[in-house]
Assembly symmetry: C2
Homo-oligomer: 119 residues x 2
DNA sequence: TCGACATTTCGACAATATTCGAAACATGGA
DNA sequence: TCCATGTTTCGAATATTGTCGAAATGTCGA
């Protein structure tokens, strides 16, 4: 990926998170961990019409921040931590790659070694 | 700042960076370091009309990501590294505060101890 | 096969964003 | 004081976004 492509991808990811409902949805998915959440469950928690939420989830998916998997009648969404980490990595480099920098980015806490993404 | 306020501030900061020209402008300011860049210089490098750039800079300033200082006829803009660090910190917690996490955010490299923001 | 459930796609609408030129404002020098 | 320079504010045109209801798609159980 060349530099322009990368920047354009970052803009899309930032834009995907730069909206109240989408940021809230993503945070719920992070909180839900490997289990993920069904689209309907998210819509209910955010008090959004299913079609509105579907649109937002499509944007998040297009930015690569969430993945989807059909499970029976529901479609389960999960946050893509690697994509999020890559975004943070880009911002970190972007923040500290310049002329002067004395910022310490708080390290990722790694609270638990993943309890597994099983249902 | 309560949680909703914080999220709303983060949304604004993300939105400020979620645009080609604004992300490019911010990156130029990061690169320029403590010296900052004049609005006109930024407009020239981004090939944008001065009024358009002024609008973008106002958004970045409103999000707290850049500061401005008049120097003679020019207005010098500088990236606010602390604000950027806070944003990255929020995203990092947001990414890693959930149920499972094994992501290592690359540490800030701290290339130089700041060569001073003097003119 | 049929009906109920979960979600997406489509179509439309209001709200917001991006862009520019023209005009206004601020600063410094002749 | 007057003019040139650098930037912002204003006003308007176009594009994008966020929202919803209605209809279409996919899945399961009877």
């Amino acid at each position: 990926m060349d530099s322009d492509e990368q920047a354009s991808h970052v803009v899309r990811a930032l834009g995907a998170l730069a909206q109240d409902h989408r940021l809230a949805a993503f945070r719920l998915l992070i909180e839900a961990g490997g289990n993920g959440l069904a689209a309907g469950e998210l819509a209910a928690r955010l008090a959004l019409a299913p079609s509105s939420l579907s649109h937002h989830l499509a944007l998040l998916a297009q930015a690569g921040l969430v993945s989807q998997e059909r499970r029976s009648r529901s479609i389960i969404y999960r946050a893509d931590l690697a994509a999020m980490s890559a975004l943070i990595g880009y911002l970190t480099e972007n923040c500290c790659g310049g002329a002067d920098c004395g910022i310490a980015v708080p390290a990722c806490t790694i609270p638990a070694p993943c309890e597994g993404a099983a249902a």
